[in-house]
Each structure stands twice: as structure tokens, then as C-alpha cells.
């Protein structure tokens, strides 16, 4: 029996009837057509499917769509606003943080959560922070640089926004 699910994805409200077993990642990819969120494994190890639910990075392959009922979801498609790249996207572009690009959306969304918690992470904290995201291309070094780039940029922006 199908269940109603209502979610907000990248600021847009959606309502569907879904099979309870439908994985959130399949809901996002196949029903909403947002294919920037990828599937890389079956066992919650690779992190390619990482999205933000209510601001927190989670693996959308390890959630049923019905569990997301009422949630606010952000996917890679929602990172840039008004055609302007998010600092994490800029970081990945500037620092060559991606090669094949398959892990990149999940990696960036994990980094967004990481930087929310810790705006000035050390290299070690970044490397530990992305332990749930596997990349087979980059050797991670440029990803670390990308996240550091974004961190600087976001701290700078936050600094400017802070009233004196």
C-alpha cells in the first residue's frame, strides 16, 4: 500500500504517493528527476548519495522516502543560488577537487555540514570529517584543499557580514 510523502527539496514542495520501501535516493533521482545525487554502494559506505536533511548530511540510500516525511532536503542541485556557486562548489572548482565527478555532490554536501560545525577545520579534521565519502580518483588531497578554500571563503564572508 502506498503512503503519502511530502517533502521540501531545494526550497520546492513535493507530494507523492510512494511504496514504503522506496529508498529516499530513488525517490529523489527517479521521481523528482534530481539525478545529481548518486548511488555508489549498497552498504552505506561510499557517501555518493549524501544529501542534507534539515541541514544535516545523511546518506539517502539508507533512508526510506517515508522517513523523510515533512523534511527539508537539500541536494547538489540546490547548492548554487541565483546562478551563483556556493563557496564549496567554488572550492572544488578552484582546487581541482574532482575528476570523474561521481562522488562530488555527496562529498560537497558532507563538507557543507562539516563546515557548519567547524568553520576552521584542520587538515586532519577534514580528512576525518569526510571518512564517510569515498573518492577513487583524486587521492583526496585536492578535496582537502577544496574544503579549506571554501572554509576560508565562508569565514571571510561571515566576517564581513558580522556587524561591528
Amino acid at each position: 500500500m502506498k503512503r503519502a510523502v511530502k517533502v521540501t527539496v531545494n526550497g520546492k514542495a513535493y507530494a507523492h504517493e510512494v511504496e514504503p520501501r522506496l529508498l529516499l535516493v530513488h525517490y529523489i533521482r527517479d521521481m523528482l528527476g534530481l539525478t545529481g545525487t548518486h548511488v555508489g554502494c549498497d552498504t552505506s559506505n561510499c557517501g555518493a548519495c549524501t544529501i542534507l536533511i534539515n541541514g544535516r548530511a545523511v546518506k539517502s540510500c539508507t533512508l526510506l522516502a517515508v522517513q523523510a516525511e515533512g523534511a527539508s532536503i537539500q541536494t547538489v542541485e540546490g547548492l548554487a543560488t541565483d546562478g551563483k556557486l556556493h563557496p564549496i562548489q567554488e572550492g572544488f572548482w578552484e582546487e581541482h577537487g574532482l575528476q570523474c565527478g561521481f562522488c562530488t555532490p555527496g562529498m560537497m554536501l558532507t563538507a557543507v555540514d562539516l563546515l557548519q560545525r567547524n568553520p576552521d577545520p584542520t587538515e586532519e579534521q577534514i580528512r576525518m570529517g569526510i571518512e564517510g565519502n569515498l573518492c577513487r580518483c583524486t587521492g583526496y588531497q585536492h578535496i582537502v584543499n577544496s574544503i579549506q578554500h571554501a572554509a576560508r571563503k565562508m569565514r571571510g564572508a561571515a566576517g564581513r557580514a558580522t556587524p561591528r
Partner: protein, 287 residues
């Protein structure tokens, strides 16, 4: 990668949830955060006919100090436990353990109740829960009962919970003055689960170990208290040599499990090393 079909319920109250469990018996599985259950359902290693999603029941998450105990709601995420100020002050061992579970995304979603109920023999929490002498509070058709951690983990993937019971909260003691605790883990390079995980709670007095509780996970078919180590520690002034000597008993009386990564024999060795390290770190924190 796709679970088999099931009937889905998302009860709004514990009572409603228990009613569903009573009705569906062994066909039903409880879904909390989903991070233990869904992976095995996706591989179709588990194919429950009924899912009771307790994620929408209010009042099952949150951390609060309650006299000499800290109560942690079953649906509290690992992330919340890792970052909770009350726990950091009153029972930092649990926060320290939560911080090394899985990865950030898993910690954002996985719950302590779900992890405990799943009883993976390589999960991290059980070591800490055993060493702390935690209590697991469960509610069922006949009301609430409190299960000591030492009786909770029965065997691999099996707990003392009845099919109709739901964990509502876990209670851990506030660490007394003079007591230090530490969790030391050797993570599996792929899964991140504990190849060996040792939680040590050590009380020092006058430079000697007054009491010790050692919880070990990952080594045997179920988590256990390393009682021989505990005994050997008492009365010792803890240094590298005395701690190592006591820790040599870390896998005594258990049957260490081997796998491709580490044989049973090597696991037993690692248990000793990580026990020593956890004990020394805990002792250094005992103030």
C-alpha cells in the same frame, strides 16, 4: 540494493507501537534511524513483512541529567550524544564512543537505541555501556522494565528484548570524582566497525586503582566485561608495565572471532593492547 516489500506503520505513540508489535509478532521489525536495519534489508539479508517506524514518536530522544544518572532517549542520534554538553561533563565516555561510530552521516542519523537493539558484535556502544554499568529501559505490553547492560547483550545480534518491547531510554551513571574513562578502538579499514574496541572506567585513589570496569567489543561473539583484567588492576599503581600485565587477560574466557582482517588469536592480542591503552588513558583522566 532494493529491500523486499513490507507493510509500513509509523505509530505516533509508544502504546500504538507496542500494539503493532503484539499484532504482528515475529513478522515485525522496529525501524528507528534505520542505519542498522536498512542496510541488511537492502541486501535482502532481512526481509521483514512489517516495519514499525518509531521515528515519529515524540519524547524518545534527548539527553538529561537525572541525579546520579544521565538518561538518553533511545532515538538520540550518535551525533547528539557526541556533542552533548551534559554528557561531556558527566559521562564523557559515551560521547567519546559516539564520536568514533561510523562516519558523520551515519552519526547524524543512527540512534543509540537502534544500535543497542541491533547488537552487532562489533558495534562501539556496547563496550561503553558494559563498562559504565548502563541500564536499558524497555517498555512492552506489561509495562516498563530496566535491563542492566550486562544482561542485555545475549549473543550476536540478539538481546534480552522481547519482540514486543521497545527501548525507550538508556541510563548511564555520572562519573564520580577520581574516576576516569576512555574508549580505544581499532577500526576495520572498510566498515569502520570495531575490530577491537575497549572501554575502560577506572577509579584511582592514592595513586592506586581502586576499581576498574572494562568493556570489550569486536573480539568475541558478543561484547563482554573483561573481569580478569578488572581484578588484576585493583590495587595497582598504573603504569605501562602493570597495565600491560593486567591487560594480558583481556580475552580470557572468551572465544575470539577471526575474520579475513584479523584472526581470533590476533584479535585477542589487540584486545590486550587496546585494553592497556584504554586503562592508561582512563587512569590519566581520573581526577
Amino acid at each position: 540494493m532494493i529491500p523486499a516489500a513490507f507493510e509500513y506503520f509509523s505509530p505516533q505513540s509508544v502504546k500504538e507501537a507496542i500494539g503493532l508489535l503484539e499484532k504482528h509478532g515475529d513478522d515485525a521489525k522496529i525501524l528507528a534511524g534505520g542505519h542498522s536495519l536498512l542496510p541488511i534489508m537492502k541486501l535482502r539479508l532481512a526481509q521483514p513483512k512489517v516495519i514499525v517506524d518509531i521515528g515519529r514518536i515524540s519524547g524518545l530522544s534527548g539527553i538529561k541529567a537525572d541525579g546520579q544518572k544521565v538518561a538518553i532517549g533511545a532515538l538520540t542520534t550518535h551525533d547528539a550524544i557526541e556533542r552533548d554538553a551534559v554528557l561531556k561533563e558527566k559521562c564523557p565516555l559515551l560521547a567519546e564512543t559516539a564520536a568514533v561510530i561510523g562516519d558523520m552521516q551515519v552519526r547524524n542519523r543512527g540512534t543509540i537505541g537502534g544500535s543497542a537493539a541491533h547488537a552487532d558484535p562489533a558495534a562501539d556502544y556496547p563496550a561503553a555501556l558494559l563498562a559504565l554499568g548502563a541500564e536499558i529501559v524497555a517498555i512492552g505490553p506489561k509495562g516498563t522494565r530496566t535491563i542492566p547492560a550486562g544482561e542485555f547483550f545475549v549473543e550476536m545480534l540478539t538481546t534480552a528484548l522481547k519482540p514486543t518491547e521497545i527501548i525507550t531510554e538508556l541510563r548511564v551513571p555520572v562519573l564520580a570524582r577520581g574516576t576516569g574513562a576512555a574508549y580505544q578502538k581499532h577500526p576495520h579499514p572498510a566498515s569502520g566497525y570495531a575490530v577491537v574496541g575497549v572501554a575502560a572506567v577506572v577509579t584511582m585513589s592514592g595513586g592506586k586503582c581502586q576499581s576498574a570496569a572494562i568493556g570489550v567489543t569486536g573480539v568475541a561473539g558478543k561484547p563482554y566485561r573483561a573481569t580478569a583484567v578488572e581484578k588484576a588492576l585493583i590495587g595497582q599503581s598504573l603504569d605501562e608495565t602493570t597495565a600491560a600485565k593486567a591487560a594480558a587477560h583481556a580475552a580470557e574466557g572468551v572465544d575470539p572471532q577471526g575474520d579475513l582482517y584479523a584472526s581470533g588469536q590476533f584479535r585477542a592480542h589487540l584486545a590486550s593492547v587496546y585494553t592497556k591503552r584504554a586503562v592508561l588513558l582512563a587512569a590519566s583522566r581520573a581526577k
